[in-house]
Symmetry: C2
Subunit: 208 residues, 2 copies
DNA sequence: GGTAGGATACCTACTGGACGGTATGCGGCC
DNA sequence: GGCCGCATACCGTCCAGTAGGTATCCTACC
């Protein structure tokens, strides 16, 4: 097993380096040599763990997704609050985790390989929609709202705000912008009595 | 001058083909050969008009931007309505104009060359902010709103919604999603009396 | 109005380098 | 000694860019 421990370490080093390079340059502009160098690993080692550049990129995407979801602990509060918390978890993960950043960049670059990206978009907005449905049932939302449309708008808005925050301030104002988003969005979505109980700003989980 | 007419035509053909290919594959993955073939032009011709791949990309970005702004005719209505109209003009331009699509894709891929893209983001959100200030002065908005934040949120949201609409429905539901966005956003932004006078859906300019 | 000369607009063939991927070798732990 | 986990050297391909030629047209001078 000691053997495999080392292998796991190099695999992880490659994944991290790949995420960094993909995040900085994008898929096509990233070269395997870049990744090798940054990981401090040789070609043979890399191609032992990943059979191609594309497979490596897919691994980054998958690991990034699970890394994000791992940070998010569902609080049993209100469904609407959960949607908000999810967006903050996403923002934090983007700021803190290279894997998540690389994953997102690759996902947004829907070219080259298209399949899993669509799934990611779908998955996210489907999850949001489901939460909205539960919020609807709990009487949190205004009646007559198009839940599918709302879910798509939220997912799109968070994605785009993240992008422009990255370009303009290297994601330093991301949390602020997410707060602005919810401040603006919620009055059109939830009823006043529910609005009063929602936390629009980031809720930092208590450190245990 | 007849001479230059032909030259202009090939230049335009190259620009259009380049916009297509950049839109489909992104900057790095797009090859000059792709563009040549699609434009029906030889390498010599292309390199006569554009000295490098990067210069060609920059030309696509610039032409795309002006193409978008050309479609938008400022109506002297309310400033807030102008913001809304701008977003619809953007959406329409994305659906109708290859140049705009290519321009956007290149702009979003902020790698490789970073300068003018930041300017584009800045310019857009600055313009939005200015309109919001005028809307504020006109008493359209709720008091105490962070105009800078709101402008950034709108610009980011429109960008992101466009992106996810592209991935999920090839931009077919883009206009709908923009309408959803404004339906959700406006109550948190503008005062009821102004809200009543705003058109949340696309206002099709009368054909003259 | 014909033609020399030059500029414009384009074509063809080529190059050098980089890049993804592979083949083969080899050390060390079980 | 056998296989896991790598290291090194190499290969074919592809691609941005260039060199140098050519046809077309415009200008100018006779």
């Amino acid at each position: 097993m000691a053997r495999q421990a080392r292998a796991l370490a190099t695999r992880q080093a490659v994944l991290l380096a790949a995420a960094e390079v993909f995040d900085e340059r994008g898929y096509a502009a990233a070269t395997m040599s870049d990744i090798l160098e940054r990981a401090g690993v040789t070609k043979g080692a890399l191609y032992f763990h990943f059979r191609s550049k594309e497979e490596l990129a897919l691994a980054v995407i998958l690991e990034g997704q699970s890394a994000w979801l791992a940070t998010w602990e569902p609080s049993s509060d209100s469904p609407m609050q959960t949607v908000i918390d999810l967006s903050y978890a996403f923002a934090r993960a983007l700021q803190d985790d290279v894997l998540v950043r690389g994953s997102i960049r690759l996902t947004i670059e829907h070219g080259s390989f298209t399949q899993p990206q669509v799934a990611a978009y779908q998955g996210w907005s489907d999850a949001t929609r489901e939460l909205l449905e539960r919020a609807q049932e709990a009487g949190e939302l205004h009646p007559g709202i198009d839940l599918r449309g709302a879910a798509l708008v939220m997912q799109g808005a968070v994605t785009g705000i993240q992008l422009s925050s990255q370009v303009l301030t290297d994601r330093q104002d991301l949390i602020e912008r997410i707060a602005d988003l919810w401040t603006l969005l919620l009055p059109g979505l939830v009823q006043p009595h529910a609005l009063a109980r929602l936390s629009v700003v980031e809720r930092v989980p208590a450190v245990s």
